[in-house]
């Protein structure tokens, strides 16, 4: 059976417990090791790892990356995980579980920079990269063996080794024959994992797994499946395609295929951005209209900045609210024409917020644009009933120009100070 030493990258045909070359025990053996080429790479506790790398004092301490006392855990290191801390957990709960943890505010710029460096290393392996977020991506290495003079498994192990030595960040790789299984595999052996799911064992591997492992099956879908008596993939396999589709629509068809380990989705090089949004969780619940208004404006401005940077505009404005009891409200409004100006986004979001004011206090507010299109289609039509809109748009363009030259704080609206 082909075996790969993840320490020295030696590939042998006989599976041994230790590497014959360097005596390392970090061996991965699989009959299809040299034949599989779809991979999913996921960094281990990415934000926390970056923090530990940049501040060695944190190395042996529990680190939680997240915002404020009211925020949620974005990422926590493996030491914190021992105490039961998980990402997306409210901060107060995390600190109850792990009071000795060091809470670090996210430094997105640092993560983005490290992410770019990882991306550059992945580019050396294949151009077919589909990033899912800053810290994970799919890669399709099909047909690269000749070019690299080594099968994908070796190149992936090399990537992990480079990330550790050059960037100080560890990651886990899942290697399989499609995206669905690669994604599952990367999670099997975290951290510093390297897992392989081959064609031959696919069915047996999935058999006993809960439906939850299917990407896209969340709490709601899981409950719906449970009502149909489906808990495991084996349960799912007993249904035929027609019945699943009748009950779950399009998703039913996908479930049918995925239950059989079939996934024909390709690794899309840059998946198109579908929406741009920004949100903020308050330190204390807010009902004050002026305060909400200030947040709304700052978020609208951030969304507009991002849209302008990407050359995109949105035809729909989305407002997201979360109330004190965590219940969510989402409102969207389709515009007659696309926009990318903070002014329009803010005004539309404010109009969406107006009827919801009575449901305050809120713990979170978010603003976004969706149904995106190129910027050249944006803000082309004036409004007969709002003749000042054109002047405000010009003022915004001037503001952007001033900021580009003198920095973000060179000019701000009074509204932003609320």
């Amino acid at each position: 059976m082909p075996s790969l030493c993840r320490a020295c990258l030696t590939l042998t045909e006989t599976g041994t417990a230790r590497c014959p070359a360097c005596r390392s025990p970090r061996i991965v053996s699989h009959p299809e090791l040299a034949d599989l080429s779809i991979a999913h790479m996921d960094c281990d506790a990415f934000y926390a790892s970056v923090e530990k790398r940049d501040n060695p004092e944190l190395r042996d301490r529990a680190v939680i990356v997240g915002g404020g006392t009211r925020g949620v855990v974005s990422t926590c290191c493996y030491i914190a995980r021992i105490s039961g801390v998980r990402s997306a957990m409210p901060m107060f709960q995390a600190l109850k579980l792990c009071p000795q943890a060091v809470v670090v505010k996210p430094r997105m710029a640092a993560y983005a920079e490290t992410s770019r460096a990882i991306r550059a290393m992945m580019e050396d392996l294949t151009p077919a990269i589909e990033p899912l977020s800053l810290d994970e991506a799919f890669m399709d290495l099909t047909g690269t063996a000749r070019l690299h003079g080594a099968p994908p498994a070796v190149m992936l192990a090399r990537l992990l080794r480079r990330m550790e030595t050059e960037l100080g960040i560890s990651g886990s790789v899942g290697l399989s024959h499609n995206k669905f299984l690669a994604k599952i595999a990367s999670d099997l052996d975290k951290p510093r994992g390297f897992s392989v799911i081959g064609r031959a064992e696919t069915e047996a591997f999935l058999e006993t797994r809960p439906v939850r492992i299917i990407w896209g099956v969340g709490t709601a879908m899981q409950a719906a499946l449970e009502r149909a008596g489906i808990r495991t993939i084996a349960d799912l396999r007993r249904w035929d395609r027609g019945d699943l589709m009748a009950r779950f629509g399009q998703m039913g068809g996908r479930l049918y295929d995925l239950a059989r380990g079939e996934d024909r989705r390709r690794v899309n090089r840059d998946e198109k951005v579908k929406s741009i949004s920004k949100e903020t969780t308050f330190d204390a619940d807010i009902s004050d209209a002026d305060l909400l208004d200030g947040h709304l404006w700052r978020l609208a401005e951030q969304v507009a900045d991002r849209a302008k940077a990407k050359g995109l505009a949105g035809r729909t404005v989305v407002l997201k609210l979360k109330r004190g009891d965590f219940s969510g409200i989402s409102r969207r409004h389709a515009l007659p024409g696309a926009t990318q100006t903070a002014d329009r986004i803010y005004r539309e979001a404010a109009a969406l917020l107006m009827p919801e004011r009575g449901r305050a206090p809120f713990r979170l507010i978010g603003v976004g644009i969706a149904d995106l299109c190129p910027a050249r289609e944006a803000d082309r039509e004036g409004d007969l009933l709002d003749p000042d809109a054109g002047r405000r748009a010009k003022a915004e363009a001037a503001t952007d120009a001033i900021r580009a030259r003198f920095g973000r704080d060179a000019i701000i609206k009074g509204r932003a100070l609320r």
């Binding site: 007659p336 039509e381 004036g382 409004d383 054109g390």
Partner: protein, 372 residues
């Protein structure tokens, strides 16, 4: 209750009523039509709580009474019965069902008690006048397309009917706008309409009203209050709440200083716009108008899909002008022109453009240009 009624008569009456009924309803009784039989006629009443329509039809009333049944179901049944059939509607008090019988067909429909049916509170109308159907038809038909569908500007979701002053004196005026285009239609002020409060007639009411206006010889009794409007013929009365909001001051939107005049055959123009817009891949299809001495070039340049150009002979004597519009808006206003040439009055490529039919100022349209 027991009545006999001719199928065609019943179909028309129920048809009118059922179109008011909202298809997705949370209050069961609102899906029903209230049937009331008395004397030698029967009335069908339906409502969505904002609009109420009452349709009266002659019938042979054997036993007076009233009940409610599903409007859509009754309409479907009557529609499927053969033309010319005599239909007997009879209510069985014991079973609480309404029997619909025609020839060999019998249907038995569940009913809800008439007492539960919401009847719109009658209101004091401050203004009552009569207007010929063709006059109202023109006012609303020509304005309708510009009604906004944006819920955030709910006060634009209807036609603003009010009294104003036109070039030849007082007029009954209908205005609609969505911020991109505006229609302003005038008719000579009918007797008795002076002092009428301005009201925003909701889109759905405008659509329902249209069904009362097909008969050229009909006269419509119009009643208006601050909160309601009513349109009635002897057979049908349509009562509607009006939109509770202030219609914006549209007068400052209508350009008065536009001097660059283009005259063009409206239907030729519309066809050409439609043709060139085909190549646009964008949601809002932008068409560029390039004007020069008696020459109009319509063009679309869509980077992803292609380009198109068409030239039209027009009357234009001003300096060169290039201006872009949403093709859909141009098509809509051009289709309002039915007798003479369309006259466009431009200012600059960023200012609102005015369009009218010949020199007729009783119907004018304003459209906002688009950056191209």
């Amino acid at each position: 209750m027991k009545i006999s009624i001719e199928r065609g008569t019943l179909l028309k009456a129920v048809g009118q009523a059922q179109s008011v009924v909202e298809r997705r309803n949370t209050i069961p009784i609102l899906a029903n039509v209230l049937i009331e039989a008395e004397g030698d006629s029967v009335s069908f009443r339906a409502t969505d709580l904002d609009i109420e329509v009452v349709d009266r039809a002659p019938a042979m009333v054997e036993r007076a009474g009233a009940t409610t049944v599903s409007a859509v179901m009754l309409h479907e049944i009557v529609r499927k019965l053969p033309d010319g059939a005599l239909i007997v509607l009879s209510e069985d008090a014991a079973s609480g069902r309404l029997t619909v019988a025609a020839g060999r067909s019998t249907f038995s429909l569940a009913t809800l008690p008439r007492e539960d049916f919401p009847v719109m509170a009658s209101s004091e109308y401050s203004s009552n006048f009569a207007a010929p159907a063709p006059v109202l038809r023109r006012l609303f038909d020509k304005a309708k397309f510009a009604i906004s569908t944006e819920e955030t500007r709910y006060y634009l979701n209807g036609v603003y009917m009010h009294v104003s002053t036109g070039e030849d004196g007082p007029v009954l005026r209908c205005v609609a706008t969505d911020g991109h285009r505006l229609a302003r239609i005038d008719a000579p002020l009918p007797e008795g309409a002076q002092g009428m409060p301005g009201v925003i007639v909701p889109r759905k009411t405008v659509n329902e009203l249209r069904k009362l206006l097909d008969d050229d010889s009909a006269t419509i009794a119009v009643s208006v209050s601050e909160t309601k409007v009513r349109f009635a013929t002897p057979a049908i009365s349509l009562t509607s709440k009006v939109i509770d909001g202030t219609f914006p001051d549209y007068t400052r939107v209508i350009p008065t200083g536009n001097t660059r005049r283009l005259e063009v055959d409206a239907s030729e123009f519309a066809k050409a716009v439609d043709r060139v817009a085909t190549v646009s891949s964008e949601r809002s299809r932008a068409v560029k108008l390039s004007l020069d001495e008696d020459r109009l070039v319509l063009s679309v340049n869509a980077p992803d899909s292609g380009a198109a150009e068409e030239e039209l002979a027009v009357a234009y004597g001003d300096e060169r002008l290039e201006i872009g519009f949403n093709a859909k808006y141009l098509l809509e206003i051009a289709s309002q022109v039915d007798r003479e040439n369309a006259v466009f009055l431009f200012n600059s490529s960023a200012d609102p453009t005015l369009m009218r039919e010949g020199n007729d100022t009783s119907a004018i349209y304003v459209v906002m240009p688009m950056r191209v």
